[in-house]
């Protein structure tokens, strides 16, 4: 279906179900219960799941396929956001033109950055991209203040021109992002025996965009173009002596992933109409690297899972403060409770990065293929132990696992 093979089609359907039903299974705990704070099914977080999913999917097209590790992709995210907000200020609060412009602007900027950075490979390439991103951050913070709003950033104001909106005499709140009148911030809730599920317009818009982005990335992975990119990762030298000009291939991959980042940046603004320079800070560039590695470099769905996991921890784990821990462990004897709370407090709240670091270390050491690699391996081992004999016998004539990137 959709020009994909069976397993890719199933994967796409799985991801589609996952995103469409997210409001349900991300809120597994009834409202008001003590576990309700672990619910991730509120609009702001769900939007982040899919938007950073897009960011990581795009990053994986560069890093996962060609092996070029960029440490500056947040620059494209940020540029996309600035482009989107200017479109909203000048033309219309409709998100479509904003998102289109953010993709184009990020694409052009990544063409420039890629052209220069790709003159080097390995660590030098990474450092060059990092340098570009930090320069962009510094520029947005200071020199370019008239365009970027400096430290405070930008958001739509009532006094903005919004030429198209004014011409059409748009109704509703003039500074709310919308899709042809459908407000992004609009949510409706469903009550069911104490459970509350929230359905948000913005989330569904972003989720549909993410599904399209995911589908396109599958097409790229399975195409001759994707095959060339994977060949670059394994042996760029051989590819050159094979008659392939590898430079434009890496540049194309760089620009595509830059455009994905721009798309994510545009969507962030579409959901929450504001942007500041911190979006380009190097930690944001590092985060997408972590997401991709955590989920599984070069796998299709890994980056999406990695993005989800990190965003969940960032938003949920960081909410658990000492006071909360104390109420949880109030049943313990005083000193024991204090010890437990003190230790756990290190890993929660502001210390959530510590937990992330631990998980990251465990994954990198024990699951070199990331979460997806681990799942695939585990699945294969189970499959083998169940009917190991049969598989061994038919090994020569079944289609064995090729190098095709796993789920």
């Amino acid at each position: 279906m959709f020009g994909l093979n069976r397993s890719d089609t199933l994967l796409l359907i799985f991801v589609a179900l996952l995103t469409m039903l997210a409001p349900f299974f991300l809120n597994p705990f009834p409202e008001g219960s003590s576990l309700a704070q672990f619910n991730g099914g509120y609009p702001d977080l769900m939007q982040r799941f899919v938007i950073f999913g897009i960011f990581a999917i795009g990053f994986n097209i560069l890093f996962g396929l060609t092996g070029y590790l960029s440490f500056g992709h947040a620059a494209f995210l940020g540029i996309g956001s600035y482009a989107a907000i200017w479109m909203m200020k000048l033309l219309t609060m409709n998100v479509i033109p904003a998102i289109i412009l953010s993709v184009i602007v990020a694409g052009v900027f990544s063409l420039f950055v890629g052209y220069i950075s790709l003159r080097r490979s390995g660590i030098y390439f990474s450092i060059l991209t990092l340098a570009f991103a930090q320069m962009s951050y510094a520029l947005a913070y200071s020199v370019l203040t008239p365009i970027t709003g400096g430290e405070t950033g930008l958001q739509p104001k009532l006094s903005d021109p919004r030429i198209l909106d004014t011409m059409l005499g748009g109704g509703g709140d003039a500074t709310r992002a919308n899709l042809f009148g459908l407000e992004m911030g609009k949510s409706w809730q469903m009550d069911w025996n104490g459970w509350v599920f929230t359905f948000n317009t913005g989330y569904y818009v972003a989720a549909v965009v993410m599904l399209i982005a995911f589908y396109l990335s599958i097409r790229i992975f399975r195409s001759p173009f994707g095959l060339m990119l994977r060949a670059i990762k394994t042996n760029q030298n051989r590819l050159n002596y094979t008659g392939v000009n590898t430079k434009p291939y890496t540049l194309a991959a760089f620009v595509i992933s830059g455009m994905y980042a721009g798309l994510a940046g545009g969507l962030l603004v579409a959901m929450d109409t504001q942007v500041g320079p911190e979006r380009m800070f190097w930690t944001a560039s590092g985060e997408v690297v972590l997401m991709t590695i955590l989920g599984g470099v070069g796998t299709l769905i890994g980056p999406v899972l990695g993005a989800g996991l990190i965003k969940y921890m960032e938003n949920i784990l960081s909410k658990i403060n000492e006071g909360l821990l104390e109420t949880w462990f109030a049943f313990m004897p005083d000193t024991a409770g204090d010890v437990v709370v003190t230790v756990l407090a290190l890993f929660t709240g502001k210390g959530w990065h510590l937990t992330l670091g631990l998980i990251f270390m465990l994954v990198v050491v024990f699951l070199p293929g990331g979460l997806v690699g681990g799942l695939v391996q585990g699945g294969r081992r189970m499959f083998r132990s169940r009917d190991g004999k049969a598989t061994r016998e038919t090994k020569s004539n079944q289609t064995p696992p090729t190098s095709t990137p796993a789920e």
């Binding site: 050159n240 008659g243 194309a252």
Partner: protein, 252 residues
């Protein structure tokens, strides 16, 4: 007609004169062997043909075009393929993919963003690659990962990759090194067959004299960067200078 003409090529690495005023011409449709002791400069000479090195002086003409100053991929695109001394393959990919990639490069040129089609649905590419793997005897292993192959299979794979491009000139740097006797003989047969069916010109570097004398129609002997002899196999066999070059190094 000479398809490859090497005139006065010299190359220096610091204090080492790796190539010293080398002259060669390779006739179309022949097998030209280059032999010589270790470190004679044989691989260095091939490097000058494929754009890995640029000689300090001299010219290299292929099919009337200069090979100097153009990029490796451009040299390949005009019909020169090379098998390296240490196998250069796509280690993480399957054998089939390894052969499909050069086939794509041959069909689509040096750069083409073909991102919408499915690589495994490009049936002409797939069929061609499978045919080549069949011919070289790796068809059964086509779905295995290249890195898992034996050294001999890697070499054969690399040969398959080059052949899939239907080159005019095939450069082979010790193609049978690391192969068993049986595989070596199979390779000799394969290279002979290729000569007949495709009319392919080959330059082959080889230490195994059995391979050299089974295949070569002309032999150049290189020692310390200099061509000390160039002649038909029969005449090379009896040449005292050649014996000396080999004996000289063996005595060391």
């Amino acid at each position: 007609m000479a398809i490859l003409q090497v005139r006065n090529v010299s190359k220096r690495f610091g204090g080492l004169q790796a190539l010293n005023d080398v002259n060669l011409s390779v006739e179309e449709g022949t097998v030209h062997a280059i032999i010589g002791p270790n470190g004679a400069g044989k691989s260095t000479l091939l490097n000058c043909f494929v754009g890995r090195l640029i000689p300090d002086t001299g010219t290299v003409m292929f099919d009337g075009k200069s090979l100097l100053g153009i990029k490796p991929h451009e040299i390949n695109q005009i019909g020169v393929s090379r098998v390296f001394q240490t196998p250069e393959i796509f280690g993480d990919l399957s054998l089939l993919e390894n052969v499909m990639i050069p086939t794509f490069a041959h069909r689509d040129g040096a750069f083409k963003v073909n991102w919408w089609n499915r690589a495994d649905r490009e049936s002409d590419i797939q069929d061609h690659a499978e045919e080549i793997l069949q011919e070289i005897g790796l068809y059964e292993k086509r779905h295995e990962i290249a890195d898992a192959m034996s050294r001999g299979d890697k070499r054969r794979l690399e040969m398959a990759m080059c052949l899939s491009q239907d080159p005019k000139l095939l450069l082979l740097d010790e193609p049978t090194a690391g192969m068993s006797r049986a595989d070596t003989n199979a390779t000799i047969d394969l290279l002979k067959r290729l000569g007949e069916t495709r009319g392919l010109t080959k330059v082959i570097i080889e230490h195994d004299m059995h391979v050299v004398f089974s295949l070569a129609s002309y032999i150049s002997v290189l020692a310390q960067g200099t061509v000390i002899a160039g002649n038909t196999p029969e005449l090379i066999k009896g040449d005292p200078k050649v014996k000396e070059a080999y004996l000289g190094t063996e005595a060391e």
